[in-house]
Symmetry: C2
Subunit: 318 residues, 2 copies
Amino acid sequence: MVAYKSVTVFAPASVANLSCGFDIMGFALEGTGDRVVLSLSEGEENDILELTGTYAGHVPAERKRNSAGVAVDAMLAAIGKLNMSIHIKLEKNLPVGSGLGSSASGAAAAVYALNVMMGSPFEIKELIPFAMEGERAACGTAHADNVAPSLLGGFVLIRSYDPLDIISITTPCELYCVVIHPHIEVKTSDARRVLKKEFPLQVVTRQSANTASLMTGILTCNYDLIGRSMNDLLAEPRRTMLIPGFLAAKNYAIEAGAIGCGISGSGPSVFALCNNREITTKITSAMQKGFSEAGLTSDIIISSLNAPGARLINKEIF
Amino acid sequence: MVAYKSVTVFAPASVANLSCGFDIMGFALEGTGDRVVLSLSEGEENDILELTGTYAGHVPAERKRNSAGVAVDAMLAAIGKLNMSIHIKLEKNLPVGSGLGSSASGAAAAVYALNVMMGSPFEIKELIPFAMEGERAACGTAHADNVAPSLLGGFVLIRSYDPLDIISITTPCELYCVVIHPHIEVKTSDARRVLKKEFPLQVVTRQSANTASLMTGILTCNYDLIGRSMNDLLAEPRRTMLIPGFLAAKNYAIEAGAIGCGISGSGPSVFALCNNREITTKITSAMQKGFSEAGLTSDIIISSLNAPGARLINKEIF
């Protein structure tokens, strides 16, 4: 049943909560992400997790609390192979609490690798629920708006969690994303706590109108409409206070030609969309200036909106 | 400045609140609607409203309370011509309190006619705010989800009311609509009163996800996705009780091959979508059966989703 002795997989970072698309939209990013090496363990131990990479010291070393470990074990449980000894080596390249889908990336890479190792019994989409269990361990809720784009690539819409209904969107438009990660940490739990619990009818209809318009813009390449629709009434008004420099960065991004700008995931990373790769440099400088005025240094990611998802890097047969 | 002595315009009925698209989506219907004849009045009286048609006795005869009269006067006020003597003849063909956009149809026809009469100083889209004033008079709120499709035709998305941002969608798909109007009246005010005032975060995100998915389905001809997305969490759960036979009609419609089914406007009319004109007859019978089991007779409208909007029927020069 086991097809490979060792499998190495990369899964990208991702932007969740596309402004009005709070909790329901996300997209994959190019270039950066976690790597996982799964190998059949020599011994009898089936709870090994090895951590490497820049952010190895920032995630739980205990397999039962690490998103990659939990995701692998959820998948092993589903196929009745919990007794298999699988060594997980997680190369943690994505900063934690950054809003870049760090825990999702590790979980996505891990389940993708396990699927390859087992001879691909699952379609990629079917791996999402296992990776979501990793999210539950890392963040408290089994959300899919990072793991789905990290696994599938591109732009993803989550229509429903019960039943899970995930739609992959390939936009026909020229859309690029600049992500700025300012060097502070925002805990997902804090970002959740500041949200209101109840909303008036008008907020529901306005948010719904914006998500419908955003999809219309993304599918018809109406860039101006995309910009007008990137208007979040749920999270952004509350989370702005958690991210010093965000408002300035947003204003500078728009001035520099961005279509729209919002918080990536639960922050502190922020993203801006534009329809021309050439102006991404200008937008990047503009946004970094906003954070630097607030005393924060920052990293950057520049990506298209049709970035590839998790992929095999290496596999070893017996 | 006045280009024509008399202008006759037809404006179609419409379906508002496309299930999850509560308050933000609507589309025009083929074949049925109100007619308005505007003529420069001989005398000095500038408050004349004449009513004809099947439902003449069901709408306010007073110009200041009738949606067509109010819309015309709002437009005259905007162009500083409130003292113009214009005779409005409204042929009221659409039943009132039916969920078919009856008050909107009269208002749309009236402002379209006045625009032609004045030599078309406004684009059609710019007439929407005037027609919305007619809705305010008729229903208490200046909503646009009937007047916009009645004026523009086709499928319309209202992204925002402030500022007014209305998007015309031409779906590339084969989409047809069956509308059944059961013979009872539902007052818009009653339909508004039964709604909840506050909604938990999860309802906001689920409704938003469905509107985003519905637009995706309509723009990519994913008929199954359209059906899954036609799931309203705001109005339908509360308004179902106001429309005897609706649930049966909905189940029968789906059994007969409809993609989805919901309440048209604030009811009692209900609509079903399908992707094949040939099965509209079967769906019509199925839905009428649902209402007939509840003791209700009904009328029908069958239309495509790209139906034309308001249009000139006749004009007379001096």
